[in-house]
């Protein structure tokens, strides 16, 4: 056996720890500066986002690009001085403010139209999320995360054993922490915000990461049954090597569409795809290098059992 995950397990564990810790540091920093571990988007904290594009941009008859100072001036006049704003492709503008009601919004749009020009209603995007609703989305999202943790642990305990389930859970938490950590860093350095799609991404990552772990565990169980005398480290090493081709290929086939979405897809899905790319990659990593090595380490420390657990169906004749 040329490749052994267990031989260098302290290296893998250390590597994961370093990345997760730096993510945690980013979360603490972000907590200190933003008041939350990640930069929360409109979906969670509430507010209004308006996106306008000049009506002339389609026919390319605009005489001059939108002047950001003029927009800023309008915002200041209406007491929305601390809003963030961004010019998109010269002729579009995106404004993010505190939650505005219909009248405030209409007033803002009308004033902007007067100062800057007519906007194309076909390209207008308005989002208002009340603060209470945001809290609800966040709470139900975190609850969904917790419930699926519990559900998966129960299922794996039934199909395998409790310690298998625990380490699969460790791998899951690893993936979730790592992905959120990377987004905490991105939030600090690049201003990337998370929205409700981020929670969806985390849950998809959970499902996928457990896939990988289950396939390896399945192999461990099978190898253990065929070679009851083999040490657990060797069994795990063998199982990992035998499933390595599959792990790499599956991760690849899943990453390919995600990469295309990340590169060619619209703005809405870009960071969703990025979260999945990070999560799926670490999911494959944690299954191979964390969940399996932890299992070997744990079982190695246990007093030898009289017989291994047999729960598997008989192999084909």
């Amino acid at each position: 056996m040329s490749f052994s995950v267990n031989r260098q397990r302290s290296l893998w564990w250390g590597l994961s720890l370093v990345v997760i810790l730096s993510g945690l540091v980013a979360m603490v920093l972000s907590w200190a500066s933003l008041g939350s571990p990640l930069r929360l988007g409109l979906d969670f904290i509430g507010g209004t986002r308006l996106q306008f594009e000049l009506a002339c941009s389609a026919t390319q008859t605009c005489s001059q690009p939108i002047d950001i100072d003029a927009v800023r001036q309008v915002l200041n006049q209406q007491g929305l001085g601390n809003s963030s704003l961004q010019i998109i492709d010269q002729y579009g503008v995106s404004i993010r403010t505190v939650p505005l009601d219909v009248d405030q919004r209409t007033r803002l749009r009308d004033t902007l139209t007067q100062k800057i020009g007519d906007f194309d209603p076909q390209k207008t995007q308005i989002e208002t999320v009340g603060p209470t609703l945001g809290e609800e989305i966040l709470r139900s999202g975190l609850l969904a995360l917790l419930v699926s943790f519990i559900g998966i642990t129960i299922y794996l305990t039934l199909r395998f054993q409790f310690d298998y389930a625990c380490f699969a859970l460790v791998a899951l938490v690893h993936d979730v922490l790592l992905t959120t950590g990377v987004f905490a860093i991105l939030g600090l350095v690049a201003g990337v915000e998370i929205d409700s799609l981020f929670i969806v991404a985390l849950l998809t990552i959970i499902g996928f990461s457990v896939n990988d772990t289950v396939v390896i565990y399945d192999r461990v169980r099978e190898t253990l049954k065929l070679n009851p005398d083999l040490g657990i480290k060797e069994v795990v090493d063998q199982a990992v090597v035998q499933t390595l081709g599959r792990s790499i290929n599956t991760t690849l086939t899943t990453l390919l569409p995600l990469m295309t979405i990340f590169i060619f897809g619209g703005d809405t899905l870009r960071y969703f795809a990025l979260a999945l790319i990070i999560g799926f990659t670490t999911g494959a990593y944690s299954s191979i290098f964390i969940a399996s090595t932890l299992l070997a380490w744990w079982r190695d420390r246990q007093p030898p059992r009289p017989a291994t657990n047999t729960l598997e169906t008989t192999p084909t004749p």
Binding site: V102, G130, G266
Partner: protein
């Protein structure tokens, strides 16, 4: 290989059915793709209504639904969401200001006495209004039918706009024939449907007022009793009922604070009116807690981008599978294409609304659907290297991979279930599309690939182990 021929035919039939579904069923695009406004309204409690019960919510839903019908938006959707929220979808509405204003206020129930000498005029105006409403219903149906025909749509929309203006005018004309009273919905205690006589198919609506309302009602009915003039019941400035008061009430008016509104109701329409009245009587304010409006062309841009991205991703996966797994890879590709067709057909069949995250889930599931085949083929290769015959290797590839495939899919389904149970709106949409994708991928990977693969190895010229596992000799 008779049994595989049977499966092949079954798969072919399924494919034809799926194609038929795809050709016949128009896709239901979410508002983020077709453009439109989505509002989430939260029903607020007040001193009078300290708790939002399902009845209150249903009443408010009725009022909101009726108001939207007044806006003349085709395919508008009003759903309850959670215990105290309503989700309103208005496709094609790019100016949510108007919608928001109309939806937010409390339904106003108003009683009014008809002005003397306007009997004939009222009849004419009511007939005109009935005609206009009929026309509106027809136009809305046409609009829904011609959803894919932009030219016809423009024409219909112009007609709808005209219709709306005429309706507005006719409503104002009708309102002008009445003198509003001080009796309003705030004084209504309850309204419910009741059969005119026990077991009768004719229904009426009973309304009961509080003390002040009862007094005003008596005054109002006394004024018009026996004159042939009617009592106008207006909801949001629109006349919904105009009963007359019999002459025997001319002395005192209808006392006791209770009245029966009758006239051509069946159980359903009587109940509808009761809910409307009740709703109009409910002084519960609505708050818009969420408002998302996407311009139509923005949605089209994102469809195109995501579609291209999805196709590019799919092509890359197909190429990879053939390059790496050879003949089985080609067969997996076939199964994958079937998977995409079946899944899309299933979305249409179940009426899944395609949203941007939904499409992402679909594309993602294409990548994940390969996993089952990869597991099987890796196993097949191992068995071949261990010296098994081709047939045995393929067979045990499927058998041995099954437990892994099942376990890994069930865990993903658990995450889907959590998303569905606890999420809202598009989060749920994503969960449903992912779950459908997983179910169908199990079918195509286990049944379609299996059938094709065994059919392939039943053909002697395809029975080449090297096409299943390159460089097999070096392992033996």
């Amino acid at each position: 290989m008779g049994k595989y021929r049977g499966w092949l035919i079954a798969i072919l039939v399924l494919l034809m059915a799926a194609t038929w579904v795809i050709v016949r069923t128009p896709a239901r695009l979410g508002l983020d793709l077709r453009g439109g406004a989505q509002l989430t309204l939260q029903v607020q409690t007040t001193d009078k209504v300290p708790q939002i019960t399902p009845q209150v919510l249903a009443a408010v839903q009725g009022v909101v639904q009726r108001r939207i019908d007044g806006l003349g938006v085709a395919e508008a959707v009003v759903q309850t969401a959670g215990d105290d929220k309503l989700l309103v979808q208005l496709p094609g509405v790019t100016d949510p200001q108007q919608a928001e204003r109309i939806l937010k206020g409390t339904a106003q129930l108003l009683f009014a006495a008809q002005k003397p000498g306007t009997e004939a005029q009222l009849q004419i105006e009511r007939q005109l209004q009935a005609q206009l409403l009929l026309e509106q219903a027809q136009l809305l149906a046409e609009q829904a039918e011609n959803a894919n025909n932009p030219e016809a749509l423009k024409e219909i929309e112009a007609k709808l706009e005209k219709n709306r203006e005429s309706l507005e005018k006719s409503q104002q004309a009708i309102a002008g024939l009445f003198t509003p009273s001080d009796l309003t919905g705030a004084m209504l205690r309850e309204a419910f449907a009741s059969p005119v006589a026990p077991g009768s198919p004719n229904w009426s609506v009973i309304v009961r007022f509080d003390n002040q309302g009862a007094e005003l009602f008596a005054q109002l009915t006394k004024e018009i009793a026996g004159t042939g003039r009617s009592l106008g019941i207006f909801l949001d400035d629109r006349l919904i009922s105009a009963p007359t008061v019999a002459v025997e009430y001319a002395e005192t008016g209808i006392v006791g604070g209770s009245a029966e509104i009758s006239g051509g109701f069946n159980a359903q329409s009587a109940n509808d009116l009761a809910i409307q009245l009740q709703g109009g009587a409910l002084p519960v304010p609505l708050e818009v807690v969420e408002n998302r409006t996407v311009g139509a062309s923005l949605g089209q841009d994102s469809i195109r981008d995501s579609l291209y991205a999805g196709l590019a991703g799919l092509v890359l996966v197909l190429i990879f599978m053939v390059a790496y797994y050879r003949l089985p890879g080609l067969i997996a590709d076939l199964a994958l294409i079937l998977y995409a067709i079946f899944t899309y057909a299933a979305f249409l069949l179940f009426g899944v609304t395609l949203t941007l995250p939904g499409i992402a889930g679909f594309i993602l599931s294409i990548g994940m659907a390969v996993d089952a085949n990869v597991l099987i083929f890796e196993r097949t290769r191992e068995e071949l290297r261990a010296g098994k015959t081709l047939y045995r290797a393929v067979e045990s590839g499927f058998d041995r991979a099954f437990a892994s495939i099942l376990d890994s899919n069930v865990t993903t389904l658990i995450a889907c279930a959590a998303l569905f149970a606890l999420g809202t709106g598009f989060v749920r949409g994503f969960a449903v599309t992912l779950a459908i994708g997983i179910g169908i991928s199990m079918f195509t990977a286990l049944t379609c690939s299996r059938t094709f693969l065994f059919y392939a190895i039943s053909i002697p010229s395809l029975r080449k182990p090297n096409w299943f596992c390159p460089k097999l000799e070096s392992f033996r």
